[in-house]
């Protein structure tokens, strides 16, 4: 329990640091951010109005305190482009991103767990070498290149899947599935590569354990020992990696969403950067980082729950 409380409390300074850094990033814009937002042709009246709106005449620490106060009540400001509340834009964009993340996770697990188990169970076989090679290749594959190749073959040549766009699952489940497939494969392959490696390493550790030798000595079939006895314990470290990857997925999401015109948080961030819509950039980056922190926290807590040794220590 103490371990859990300590871990949860450790998130507070990190979250505060994230707020400071997100705010400072925008303050780092060279010159006047208002000119950067409105361009060089802006009238003095428009500049003055926006300057007053964002309280830019005040010193930076005061502006931060005011911004932080608004943040605590869920006010991330308004978009310069659309005038919509940033929080609502971020929340709307989070839904497609989470759908994409979960679909990618599913694809990666379906590929990685069986491949990692087979690789470890048949160590030094052709299957093992193939899995190692494929996982190394998957780790080195730039996701946007894979995305372009998938579009080329499965969308343009074979016309099986649409090359871009998003359909809400509630409106058209089949259409939603067709649209999510290519971006989910793009993200899932990179995740599968690391998970494959981790599953293999964890399985090799477990397969050398005494209780596995005992199970084998009792005459249990090898297949049952591998899939039932060993996999259960090997999955504990794999769970941690999968959780961490789900957090890191936020990075891959930026490029994948841009290629497939997927209206998630990554595309929102990139579009806002090009539109110089800095409150949206700030809000989107902060929201992604906060989500990342909470996914990592949830992973740590899940690990503490799954691993009996940690549970006992706690």
């Amino acid at each position: 329990m103490k371990l859990i409380v300590t871990r949860v409390l450790s998130v507070i300074p990190v979250l505060f640091g994230l707020c400071v850094l997100s705010y400072t990033l925008l303050a780092m814009i060279p010159g006047d951010p208002i000119t950067a937002m409105l361009g060089m042709d802006a009238t003095p009246e428009a500049i003055a109005a926006l300057r007053a709106k964002f309280a830019l005449d005040e010193p930076l620490p005061l502006r931060f305190i005011s911004w932080f106060g608004h943040l605590l009540i869920g006010d991330l400001g308004r978009s310069i482009q659309s005038g919509r509340p940033v929080l609502s834009m971020v929340m709307t964009a989070m839904v497609p991103t989470m759908q994409l993340g979960l679909a990618a996770l599913l694809i990666s697990l379906v590929i990685a767990i069986p491949a990692g188990v087979i690789s470890a169970a048949r160590r030094n076989s052709v299957a093992d070498y193939s899995v190692s090679l494929i996982s190394l290749a998957g780790l080195s594959l730039p996701s946007f290149w894979l995305a372009i190749l998938l579009v080329l073959f499965l969308s343009i040549r074979l016309q099986i899947f649409p090359s871009s766009g998003y359909v809400p699952i509630g409106e058209d489940p089949v259409g939603a599935l067709r649209h999510i497939t290519l971006p989910a494969i793009t993200l899932g392959v990179a995740m599968a590569a690391s998970t494959m490696r981790m599953t293999r390493a964890a399985m090799l550790d477990v397969l050398n354990a005494d209780y596995i030798r005992t199970a084998r000595a009792k005459g249990l079939p090898f297949r049952r020992v591998v899939w039932k006895h060993a996999l259960r314990n090997a999955l504990i470290p794999v769970t941690t990696l999968v959780g961490l990857q789900l957090g890191q997925l936020m990075g891959g999401v930026v490029v994948t969403e841009t290629v497939f015109a997927w209206p998630g948080i990554g595309k929102l961030t990139v579009d806002a950067i090009f539109a110089r819509d800095y409150p949206v950039v700030q809000g989107a980056i902060l929201a992604s980082a906060v989500l990342f922190v909470f996914i990592n926290l949830a992973t740590d807590l899940l690990y503490a729950t799954l691993d009996p040794r940690l549970r006992k220590r706690a």
């Binding site: 925008l26 946007f144 290149w145 372009i148 490029v255 090009f274 980056i285």
Partner: protein, 280 residues
């Protein structure tokens, strides 16, 4: 400290391992392409030829041309220079900043450690590419700012690895003996701890080269990295999307260049880890 014969022996051991040798070969090709690029191709990377736009690979243009008739091979060779430059300088910068932070935090411990590492935790709490995007959005898209952004996202990783190794080394008897002999903290850190904490940092730095090259290509692909007319592999792939149904070579070759380079650094980094970091 790694001596000359020791480093020769390390290189020999890496070459003898076929996997590491393959990684080293791929990395060597990148370095050669970056250094001798202008000699290897007879076309300037930004020389347009409107009589030969979107020409497929041929004897004149080994890897074809793009929509402006620019030679793809020359642009890939020029992109190799950008990738290597960004990778090496950004990782070098991260080591320059992260290593002292990790060393001081790990050696002194206590409040210094807590403050420095919480700062690093904040940087680590951002997904790397998003932090890089934020930095380039704030500073502007350019080669220098791309290097700064990637160095910033690499720094906490180097600091963490250095800190962990420093804590391990600091608890050893010979360091305690140095303290008892009255050497200053700075002397102990630089002469006794640092040389023995370097191996894992070196391994991490080699693996970070791969991720830095990928991050640079992501930023360029999004239009937020190195700006035209400098060719980069990422920006070449972005341009390729518009012509994907008529000129597939525009997508194949820059993508393959990124893939093989990153694969090379990953294999090399794995090999280095096997040789230098027995814990893994």
């Amino acid at each position: 400290m790694t001596t000359a014969p020791a480093s020769h022996s390390l290189i020999r051991r890496l070459v003898e391992d076929s996997r590491s040798a393959f990684g080293m070969a791929l990395v060597s090709i990148l370095v050669l392409a970056a250094v001798f690029g202008p000699v290897l191709s007879s076309y300037a990377p930004d020389a347009a030829d409107f009589m030969a736009t979107l020409a497929p690979p041929s004897a004149d243009h080994f890897l074809g041309t793009d929509d402006l008739g620019r030679d793809v091979l020359s642009r890939i060779l020029s992109g190799a220079r950008v990738s290597l430059l960004v990778g090496v300088i950004s990782v070098g910068g991260a080591v320059l900043v992260g290593l002292p932070i990790g060393l001081v935090a790990g050696y002194l411990g206590g409040r210094t450690d807590a403050v420095l590492m919480r700062c690093m935790d904040v940087l680590l709490a951002f997904p790397g590419i998003l932090l890089a995007l934020g930095i380039t959005a704030a500073l502007g898209a350019s080669l220098t700012n791309t290097i700064i952004a990637i160095a910033v996202i690499n720094t906490p990783t180097i600091a963490r690895v250095t800190r962990a190794q420093t804590m391990l080394v600091s608890s050893l008897d010979y360091v305690k003996a140095n303290r008892a002999l009255g050497f200053s903290n700075l002397t102990i850190m630089t002469r006794s701890v640092l040389p023995n904490a370097l191996s894992p940092v070196l391994v991490q730095a080699s693996l970070l080269l791969a991720s830095s090259i990928i991050t640079e290509s992501y930023l360029s692909f999004l239009g937020l990295g190195v700006q035209p007319p400098t060719p980069t592999w990422g920006s070449m792939l972005r341009d390729a999307i518009s012509f994907i149904d008529q000129a597939t070579w525009l997508a194949w070759f820059p993508g393959a260049a990124i893939f093989l380079t990153v694969l090379g650094f990953n294999i090399f980094g794995d090999g280095l880890r096997d040789r230098l970091d027995p814990r893994d």
